[in-house]
Each structure stands twice: as structure tokens, then as C-alpha cells.
Amino acid sequence: MPEREDNEDEDEEEETPREARKRKQQKSNNFATVAVVIILILLSGYVYMGVTGNAIFGLGEKKGTVQETIKIGFMGPLSGDAASYGHGIKRGVELALKDSGLTNVEIIYEDTKCEGKEAVNAINKLINIDGVSVIIGEVCSGATLAAAPIAEENQVVMISASSTSPKITDAGDYIFRAIPSDALQGRFAANLVYKMNITNLSILYGNEEYGIGFKDVLKESFEELGGNVTAAESFERGSSDLRTQLTKIRQAKPQAIFIISNSPDSAVAALKQIKQLGMKIKVFGSEGLKGPEVAATKATGEGLIITSVSAGTEEFFEKYYREYGLQPEPFSSQAYDSFTALAETIKKGAKTGTEIKNALYGISFSGVSGEIEFDSDGDVSGNYDVYQLKNGTFVLF
């Protein structure tokens, strides 16, 4: 009898503590994984139902195929430090949509925060998932240049209301803009400064496509005229401590400083720190500074002179005010014209990206920001105004 009992004991040998732990660990691991996977599947299912109820996904093979609604993408900073530009452009576009009378157009908005990376993600989504044939955007030159190769490759038109970098001229057949290149504004600015008897200029510019492009043209033009650029310092986008750069500039003893920035925060900081450092020089700015934040600096920015593209016709001012209760914002008129140009092509029957592109090259009309006619590079020519900040408002100089 005892022997049989021994055998039974050997068969049911107790697990060693180590094996028990391992088995429990295995079980616990499996349980955790299964739980997470189930939760994920449920979540995905829920989102799937919610999503297919709202959006229409194309199979992504043919972009811009014939559809009932024409989809237009919008990429711009709706948050972040350049958001005021983004919203101004959005309003211009929506007003133009209203005025165009088109009913078969859907605009899909993407917030790209003026960043190249965001623009690329957004354009991939807009093209592959939403199936847009044309995109209005981006606002900042760097972001536009980042997204342009993708638009070009997919034969989707991109039209910007505010990107002024000279590089965009060569960005592609499908890339247009309703605002003139800084190759022109830089030259205009150089002339302006030189005519005010300044021969010794310093430049403070944002370290990005817009800033660098403008700075290069400004420096070249100014030196051609016979002037001297004694200092050129760059700052990171959004940076608010510019004292080091300004200290170096001060050292070079210039007669004037030209600030090139599309970040209102940096522009405001620059104006403040120029004052704090006791720099008594004439201050100029590119049109990136023509915004509410800079105007609000009042005494600090008093006397600032700005070159700018046209803000719009009087009629446009009235229309904009009636619709929004606001003065037209920077680039609103260019945005209005961008959309109007698109609307013209759509009314002529263009639907796909290629059709819209071909039609755009033939467009010619008097827009609210100037003559809208695209040259072979997709650029427009332009006029510039000069404004001065007096008592918190920008007045024509």
C-alpha cells in the first residue's frame, strides 16, 4: 500500500516555486495582452462607425477623380504663434467662397501651425484620404516648401496667399501664389531704406525660409544701391530673447535695423529689447510685422516703418467689415483672390488637379489685392505700400 501512495506522490510532484512564478507570470502577461487588444478592437470599431458616418474615404488610387463635390484643402496655422495670419486667411477664403456662389465646393481645414512637418502630414492626409484636387496653403514659406514636392508629385494644385520666399517660384508647375515673391519686396525695401538716406543697415531675421529669403534679397539689393549691411543676425522662430543678437547689432553701430519676422511674438520682443538696450536707430519691418500684436505695443513700436503688400480695395474693406466686423487682416485680400481664382477655374468646368492647374495659367482678373495673372512660374507681380505705426495704428507713410 505505501508504495502505491509514493507513486501517486511522484506523479503529482509539486511545482517548484520558480515554475509556479513563471506560470503565473505567463498567465498574467497573456491576460494583459488580450485585455488590451480587445479594448483596442472595440475602440477601433467605435471610431470606424463614427468615422464612416461622417467622412468619405476614397480608395486613394486616382486623386481628384470626378466627384459631385469638389474638395479643396486648407492648410495654415490655426493655432500657435502665427495663428492670427491663419485665421485672417481663413476668413478671406470663406468670404470669397460666399461671394463666388459655388455650392458644390467643400473646404477641409487642417491646422499646420506654420510647421513643415505638420504641413507634410496634413497634405498626405488631404491627398490620400480626403481626395482633394487643390490646396490653399500653406501660410509660411517653410511649410509651403515642405509640402510642395508632395503636391507636385500627386498632381494636386497648391496656391498660397502669403508665402513669399523666392524659392517658391521654382517649386513646381502645380504651385501657385497670389502674393508676389520677396524677390520683389526685398528690392522694394532696399530702395525705401536707401532713399531715406540710410547707408548703414543691420538686419534681424528669422532663421527660416521666409526670413532667409528676404534677408538675402534685401542685402543684395541694398549693397547694389551702394549701401552697407554691417550686421545680420538671425533668431529662431518664436524666440523671445533677442538681446544677444541685438547686442551684437548694436556693436556694429548701424543707422537702421530691418526686422524680418513672421512670428509676432519675436517681433514684439525685438521691439521691446531694442528700446531696453537704448538703441536709437530707425526701425523697419517686413510685412510679417503688420499685425495686431505689433500694433498693440504702442509706445514701444512707435515710428516703426513697414513694407507691405496691398491690404485690399476700399470695396473689399467694406465687404470684409460687413461680414466680420473687422478690418481686413494681413493676407485676407490675397486669400480672397486665391479662392476667387480657383472659383473661376471651377466655374469653367475644371475638376481634377491637372485641369485646375491648366486653367489657372489662363486666368486674368482684377482682384481685391491687385491684378491676378499667373506667370509661367505661378507667380503674380505686385505693388507694395509703406506703413508707419503711429499711436497704435498703421497709417500709410
Binding site: L43, S44, I56, G58, L59, G60, S79, E115, G116
Partner: protein, 290 residues
């Protein structure tokens, strides 16, 4: 009808998978908490991108990306040889910052904050990968090969030595094994895979800038590796799926993207904290974190 989007998510998962697995090799098997892996990812991406826009064929830029990143991984291991634990983590974090600021400031080479746009899709011996579906197939191939190789390494004698080093480095040294060489080799291999995942990333998105390889990426990668668990390939794979799907799902919430961006980071941070506090082993890990 959401095929294009599914393909997009799968591609992202594939890229981050290789990266996560490479980090797990160093962290999970060699016990080196390399917070600098995001820099190796970035070095791979930039190498591949710069070579690509200068006309170098994809196969070469791809491999060179891996080799250069591997080399920097080795350098990192070499430089930090004596450091342990959180000092090593911080030094590797410092390395990540240095790489970031070099990418940002050496503008003649990297174009700094302008980034590198227009990176083309791969062309391999005449097979031009034009659309996302083909890219996914190519990526899947690379994934399988990578995981297969790393699995082999982990289960080999070398791998067992690594495990021993993670658990008790001094003991291993007493036994006469050169732990320094082990670390170098591990960080080289780990860096290599991080580099090729960087290359795959650059060629898919088509645009890179220094900010892509900075703190938010670091947090994402860390979350994946810790969620998945140390020393578990299956864990890393599962966690990559979970984290990427979760973060892409957030895009569909009816919230403005100004909220989704930080929202994602908050989710990662909370996931990390919860895991550290309640389940340091992660989902499928076999060992508790240190």
C-alpha cells in the same frame, strides 16, 4: 473604404517597430537605458535624406544610414563606458540633445530648421516604389528580416551573455567576459536598426527637420518600449501596435488639432506613469525594469 488610412497606420507601425525593437535590444537585453536612441533614429534619417537628395541610390543611402547610426551607437557606448544606471541614461539624453542642436545649427549640411523636403520614395534595382501599398510591402519585408535577425541574436549565445550582463555585470566580469566589448557590439547593432528605421521614416514622410527627432519622439519611443516590457520582442511588437493605433485614433476625435497634439503627449505620459507605478514589467516583459 479606409484602406489608404490603414496602410498609412501599418507603415507607421512598421517603422516604429524596428526602432522599438532596436531599443529593446539595448535596454532589455543589455540593460542600457539609452534615452539617446531618438538621436540615432535622427542620424539615420538625415544620412539617408541627405544622400538621397544628392542622387545616391536608395539601397546605399539606406545601408549607410544604418551603418552611420550604428557607428554613433558604438561611439556612445564607448564614451559612456563607465557610467551606470541613471547616469548613463542622462548622458545618453545629453547625447540626444547634442545631436539635436548639431542638426539644428550645422545649417550648411543639414539646412537646420528649414528641414529637408522632397525626399523621394525608394527605387530598388529598378523597382520604383511609388504608392503607399508597395511601400508597405517593402517595409513589411524589412520588418520581417529585422525581427528575424534580432530574434536570432537574442536567442544565441551572444544574447544570453547580454542577459547575464544586464542582470549582473560584475559577476560576468569576474567570469572573465569583456563586458565593454559586449556593450559596443550591442549598441552598434541596436544603432544600425535604429538608423535604418530612420531611413524608412524619411523616405515615407518625405520631409524631416530637427524637431522630428527631439523630445516628443523620445517620449513616444520610451512609452512603446516600457509598455511592451523589457526583454520581450513580442512585447515591443504589441506595444508598437497599441501606441501607434491609439495615437492615430486620437486624430478622429472631434477636437481641434491644437488639442490633439498635446493630448497625445499627455496620454503617453500617463501611460508611462501608470506602468511605472503599477506594472513595471509592461505588458509582456519578463523582467521588471531594473
Amino acid at each position: 473604404m479606409i484602406f489608404p488610412y490603414l496602410i498609412h497606420i501599418l507603415i507607421l507601425i512598421g517603422i516604429y517597430l524596428i526602432l522599438a525593437v532596436s531599443l529593446n535590444l539595448s535596454l532589455g537585453y543589455a540593460g542600457l537605458l539609452s534615452l539617446g536612441h531618438v538621436a540615432l533614429f535622427g542620424i539615420g534619417a538625415y544620412t539617408s535624406a541627405l544622400l538621397n537628395i544628392n542622387g545616391v541610390p536608395f539601397v546605399f543611402s539606406f545601408l549607410l544610414a544604418g551603418l552611420l547610426a550604428g557607428f554613433f551607437g558604438f561611439l556612445l557606448a564607448f564614451a559612456t563606458g563607465k557610467l551606470k544606471g541613471d547616469y548613463y541614461a542622462l548622458a545618453s539624453l545629453g547625447f540626444a540633445f547634442v545631436v539635436y542642436s548639431l542638426l539644428l545649427n550645422l545649417t550648411e549640411i543639414t539646412r537646420g530648421p528649414l528641414g529637408i523636403p522632397g525626399i523621394s520614395k525608394p527605387q530598388i534595382f529598378g523597382w520604383a516604389i511609388k504608392d503607399n501599398f508597395s511601400y508597405l510591402i517593402f517595409l513589411a519585408l524589412v520588418c520581417f528580416v529585422s525581427i528575424f535577425l534580432i530574434n536570432k541574436i537574442v536567442n544565441s549565445g551572444f544574447g544570453k551573455l547580454l542577459g547575464a550582463m544586464r542582470d549582473d555585470e560584475t559577476g560576468l566580469r569576474i567570469l572573465g567576459k569583456d563586458t565593454k566589448k559586449l556593450k559596443y557590439k550591442t549598441m552598434f547593432v541596436s544603432g544600425f536598426f535604429a538608423g535604418i528605421s530612420g531611413s524608412l521614416f524619411a523616405h515615407y514622410i518625405g520631409f524631416i527637420d530637427p524637431n522630428t527627432f527631439y523630445i516628443s519622439e523620445l517620449v513616444l519611443i520610451l512609452t512603446i518600449v516600457i509598455l511592451g516590457g523589457i526583454a520581450s520582442l513580442k512585447g515591443s511588437i504589441t506595444a508598437t501596435f497599441v501606441v501607434i493605433v491609439l495615437s492615430e485614433l486620437m486624430r478622429f476625435l472631434p477636437l481641434p488639432s491644437a488639442i490633439i497634439g498635446p493630448g497625445r503627449q499627455i496620454v503617453y505620459a500617463i501611460v508611462l506613469i501608470i506602468i511605472l507605478m503599477f506594472r513595471p514589467r509592461g505588458l509582456l516583459g519578463r523582467i521588471d525594469l531594473e
